[in-house]
Amino acid sequence: MAEYWGVKVEDIFNSMQERFRPEGAKDVDSLFGYDIKDEGKWKLTVKDNKMTIEKTDDLTGCIATMKADGETFVGVNTGNVDATNAFMGGRVIVDGDMGAFGKTGKLFRKFVIAQKEMTTKDYLADMFATIVPRFKANEAEEGLDVSFAYDLGGPDGGKWTVFIKDKKCTITTTIEGKPTVTLEFNDARDYVDFILGKIDAQSLMASGKAGAKGDLNMMATKWPILFEKYKDPMAGNVPQQELIVLKKIISLNEKFSTGPVMGKFLKGLKEQKIYANKCPQCGRMQLPPREVCADCRVRVDEFLEVGPKGEVRYMDIIYYAMPDPLTGQVRETPYGGINILFDGCKGNETLPHFIRKDQIEKIQMGWNEKKGTRVRPVWEENRIGDIWDIKYFEIDE
């Protein structure tokens, strides 16, 4: 019997019992026929959430019969042939009740090709054999003339050169001429792992297991454009176990005491005042204030009112917003985050907040040698002692 993608027509039928899903057969009570050209006929009986399959020439009583050739049948079942295309193109024909036959789709789990080991040699053969078919000629610019050579060591190793010239790709099993770049791997196994994404190029190079001669940059930038990514033929063949993922929300109600230091800062906001505290030792200002100066390891008791005007010190524009951590609501983007250097503070003694939305493009960041845009807070009318007592900052004009 013929094999397609390593699978026989019989394999599909013989595995039906194992792949049967009783939950998909709840309202099915019918006989279905399969007539596979040059292979034979099979009859599927589904009744009372159970099924039987038999090879028989007698398809009488079947509510619908599928007709196809062996390659199409195996292809559709293994995902190598698109079922809809095959049907529309007449490669699959259903005689009888189409609607009823449609139900067979739910009866079985997907057919999985039995796992076969691929050796390093198999992989190398497959990887280099697919290079020319993976070449995307229309991506090659006029006049591009490069060659990429591979010198792979170890028992399975070998040499290859890939030429790209006149929008054509050719490959030889030698290293010829002066390649644009030559990749050298001490062991071909590492090359296979690299292509399969199991190990990255940096670590291979860093550990001395691989190296490159010539214009590696040319290869690094061109290769991903010129070639389709290598597809691991084994990747799709892992038996499909139904892996359940649970979605849960973890929610713990909390009350956060603010204490005398953060508490004073928040109370200040309520009164439209911004308090920093000043280290008695090094003199730096902390915003928001903290219990100690961590640099000096001393308690910081002196509070000073700063601002409320200041200049923009650092800024960013956020396009991909995280949800508001307290409400779960997603903010409208873009919005601008700024660090404000308040009047009365210096250096990096800044406090982060937001800038008025319509002014994102107008503000300028400052740094050690340049002043940033002057800004002032816009206060919320009903203030409760939290960060949103300041709605945002706006340009102080």
Partner: protein
Amino acid sequence: MGKRIAICAVAQIKNDAEYWHLRFQNMLLECFESIMDQTKVTFDMEKGIRTIITCSNDMFDARTISNNGVTDVVGAQFRGEEKMDQESINGLGYAMASILSGHDDVILFMGHCKESQGESRRMISNLSFDPFYTRPLGMDYHNVDAMQARAYMEKSKVTDEHLAKIVVRSRQNAQKNPYARENKLVSEQEVLNSPMYSDPLRELHMYPITDWAYGMLLCCEERVKEFTKKPVWITGYGSCMDRYFLGDKDLTSNFSLKNASKRAYEKAGIKDPKKDIQVFELSDHAAYQLPMWAEGVGIADEGQGGKWIDDGGMDKFNVNLSGGHLNGNPLLLGGAARAMECYYQLSGQAGDRQVKGAKRAVAQAATGGAGQHQAVIVMEA
């Protein structure tokens, strides 16, 4: 025998039902300043503190990498900082490893937990169970402990009356401990009438929600005189992790505690804990655990917990004169509280509860449901 390290000083704030007016940073800062004041230790890179060990828990703090919230108030900025996110007693084992390896002479060990912050400690302990099976069943430390309590009480003939006696005694002892949580004294009858949480455990059988913070300074033997005249030595440490899945283990066997004690006793050269040790601080998150752990550390005979209580074992062996965990410590920090009580006893600073001539003490602590992980520390004057 193992090598030893010294506890040079300890500091704590009073255990309290709720420090509503303080952040845990404020709580820690008081302990930090007290340690600095007592020992005059510095953060000099050659001679001072290079490594700080903190104990806290992300779930109780509702903050990922909870130690980052406190590095400034424990002096840890620009120094090494390591976090113990398990029973605090293991932080002492960690400090011991750092010092005895020779990499650090001095370790500052700080811990905090504000149990009043979260709405439900049961929801927090529920999160220590796997999300697929035991968590949806609603397992938490209360009902899992109750399962163990029922099995243990049956085996060791411990009754509801015994548990009432333990609770009454705990609160009486706590009266003599200035750092103990202030609870009202209760009668045995009140305990027996208190609401049933998870049968056989009643409300008063469980330690109450508590906020607390502490600090300790630990040091190698060679340099101890720089920081204190009255060191207390840690001479043995042992810990043991039991099977995680409740269904896998014999809840009454004390397997992990017996193992942890054995290791600690061997290192400290203890042959008979009944004779060689004068003070015991046991981790009674729930009343039934006191006789159970007493069996585990070898001062009550196997299966005789009930009789041991009747025979006055709790007082005879000076168990939990501080009031114990049952009177109120944060779950995470009970081990540090136990060790600090041993420190006070061995350095003669235990005031009205002082055991005369105490030379050796044992601090024990459990983490997890039904005492899954156990650690034991032997301390000497």
